[in-house]
């Protein structure tokens, strides 16, 4: 018993050290968001602010349109998530349940897009968006992401597991295709749809490379792009950078801590299936 206790203590000690290392940058961020400029320049570096300056947050909003960046990010991410999940549900239903010509070819193409990383296709995709005149527009940020091979594939796998009898019963009752989708498939696939929705939202919320390329004007910047330019503009005004960083990470972290279980399921589920 004593041996067991000793090991338990060691395990918890190592875990605690690990967790402390992981949390340390966040602690530094929170403390430093309230520091004065003098604290930033202090040598050796000051850990606890000499006075807690709330004005940093006001100042950030004066220097950069953080609110605008937030709204852009929320709008673009929501539009992509709803659009992508919607399109994928429709496509996945057709692939899982209906019989039609060229089905196997379409399935093969969807699978083929999975091995092609988007990073490789950035150049030709940019040229298409450029030719459509969508550079520096919302549609340029949103539309290319409404198709996602993984979302279609993931939902199709799940739809295939729903018993066919349910669908036949609904059909006998006179349900249309859309009716079956709405009353049979979607209610039975709720966990899978929830998982892919959360996963898509998280991925698109953090999207960096595409908006960096497609957006030129300051008013179109999403949060990550706005912050990237702020780093250049703020220079060594680290306290303001920390205030901006805190403001932008806090909402995500709060949602994560509140909905931890769903996050974990979404990540491990899609991860293992991916």
């Amino acid at each position: 018993m004593w041996l067991r206790n000793k090991w338990t203590v060691i395990i918890y000690l190592i875990l605690a050290i690990g967790a402390l290392c992981m949390v340390f940058p966040f602690v530094w961020m929170v403390l430093s968001a309230f520091k004065t400029e003098r604290d930033v320049w202090a040598y050796p570096p000051r850990w606890i602010p000499s006075e807690w300056r709330l004005e940093n947050f006001v100042e950030v909003f004066k220097i950069i349109p953080l609110g605008r960046y937030f709204i852009n990010s929320i709008f673009v991410t929501t539009a992509i998530t709803i659009g992508q999940v919607g399109c994928s549900i429709l496509a996945a239903y057709a692939l899982a349940r209906l019989v039609f010509p060229l089905k196997s070819i379409i399935e093969l193409v969807v699978m083929a897009t999975l091995i092609m990383p988007f990073t490789v296709l950035v150049i030709p995709t940019f040229i298409i968006v450029y030719k459509l005149g969508w550079v520096d527009t919302y549609q340029g940020l949103i539309v290319p992401f409404l198709f996602n091979g993984f979302s279609i594939f993931f939902l199709k796998q799940f739809f295939s597991t729903i018993p066919k009898d349910l669908e036949d019963a609904a059909r006998i009752d006179g349900c249309s295709y859309l009716g079956i989708l709405r009353h049979v498939i979607i209610p039975n696939a709720r966990p899978a749809i929830g998982t892919i929705t959360l996963f898509t939202f998280l991925t698109e919320w953090r999207e960096y490379m595409w908006p960096l390329i497609v957006i030129n004007s300051a008013r179109m910047r999403t949060l990550p792009i706005g912050l990237k330019y702020f780093i250049g503009e703020a220079g060594s005004e680290y306290h303001l950078l920390m205030a901006a960083s805190l403001l932008s990470t806090l909402p995500v972290l709060l949602v994560y801590i509140l909905a931890e279980r769903q996050f974990v399921r979404s990540i491990t589920f899609t991860g293992l299936k991916g």
């Binding site: 039609f100 998280l202 949060l223």
Partner: protein
């Protein structure tokens, strides 16, 4: 009569299927299929974003790339990042997952601590790390000096810039792999472990001969996805070491492609470099599949 009814039902099926597929098909063809088809032809032109010039020039872009020391450097940097990051990540995440699996209570708190960096946006936390790494104002050097070690120039030192980026990326991504391993560990039947223990195997042997083989599909997954993602690394390079770091020590291939296309406007050359990147990802995929077939214990 019955045959006609079935036919009509089939036609209705076809129509419904294509209506349902329509949005995905049209967007998928425009923004994924056409780029896949056109990327190689594109890499054979001198398409220039600034002048709008565009003629067929054969393999000249590839010859150009192979004469650029910066291009080779970017490939070496990519392998450096991927090799070190994936290895360390595998060891650390497996280690912490095994410990977490043994912990009886408080697992949720540790999970939140390890996973928080994963959910935050890279730019937002990279801002914090830029300060942590700051040679004169940052706390990392203060900590080093506290232990009597020489302070480093971190992101400003050609030798340390890449290790600094790797350190940041490890911190950022570790929680994801820990969760994947934790899920894998929890799916191992407890009876197998107990049976081994009853047969007199110690903890290490049980881990080595029971847990590890059963976990091999998960390890394979983590390494495969981890390497592909490491090959695509761009964001932290662009945010933390703009310009590719001191002496281009952190300029990875995707960053090189980005510079070519959107700073020099050389879309043709950038497309050629993208094709090479894809070749690398594909080759890697095939090698790992071979290795996987040899060592992964089938479920």
């Amino acid at each position: 009569m019955r045959g006609l009814g079935t036919n009509r039902k089939h036609l209705r099926d076809y129509l419904a299927a294509y209506l349902f597929l329509f949005p995905s098909l049209i967007i998928g063809i425009t923004f994924v299929v056409i780029p896949i088809i056109t990327i190689i032809p594109l890499s054979l032109t001198n398409w220039d974003l600034i002048t709008g010039r565009r003629t067929f020039i054969g393999f000249e872009n590839y010859f150009y790339l192979f004469q650029q020391p910066r291009f080779f450097k970017s490939i070496i940097n990519t392998f450096y990042f991927a090799g070190v990051k994936v290895t360390l990540d595998l060891i650390l995440s497996l280690f912490f997952a095994v410990l977490l699996n043994k912990a009886i209570s408080g697992v949720k708190i540790f999970r939140i601590a390890f996973f928080s960096p994963v959910v935050t946006s890279t730019v937002a936390v990279a801002m914090v790390w830029i300060w942590l790494f700051d040679p004169s104002l940052g706390p990392f050097n203060q900590i080093l000096q506290f232990f009597g070690l020489r302070p480093l120039k971190w992101l400003y030192d050609p030798r340390w810039a890449m290790p600094s980026l790797i350190l940041f990326s490890l911190w950022k991504g570790l929680g994801y792999d820990i969760l994947i391993f934790l899920a894998g560990l929890q799916s191992i039947p407890q009876e197998l472990i107990e049976a081994a223990m009853v047969d007199g195997a110690d903890s290490w042997r049980t881990f080595r001969y029971i847990t590890l083989p059963l976990l091999s599909p998960v390890i394979y997954f983590v390494v495969l996805i981890g390497t592909i993602n490491a090959f695509k690394i761009f964001e932290q390079v662009s945010v933390m070491t703009p310009g590719g770091g001191p002496l281009y020590s952190t300029g990875v291939i995707v960053y090189y492609i980005y510079e070519l296309a959107f700073q020099s406007g050389a879309l043709g050359r950038a497309a050629a470099a993208s094709v090479i990147l894809f070749g690398m990802v594909l080759a890697l995929n095939m090698v790992q599949r071979k290795v996987g077939r040899k060592y992964v214990v089938a479920e």
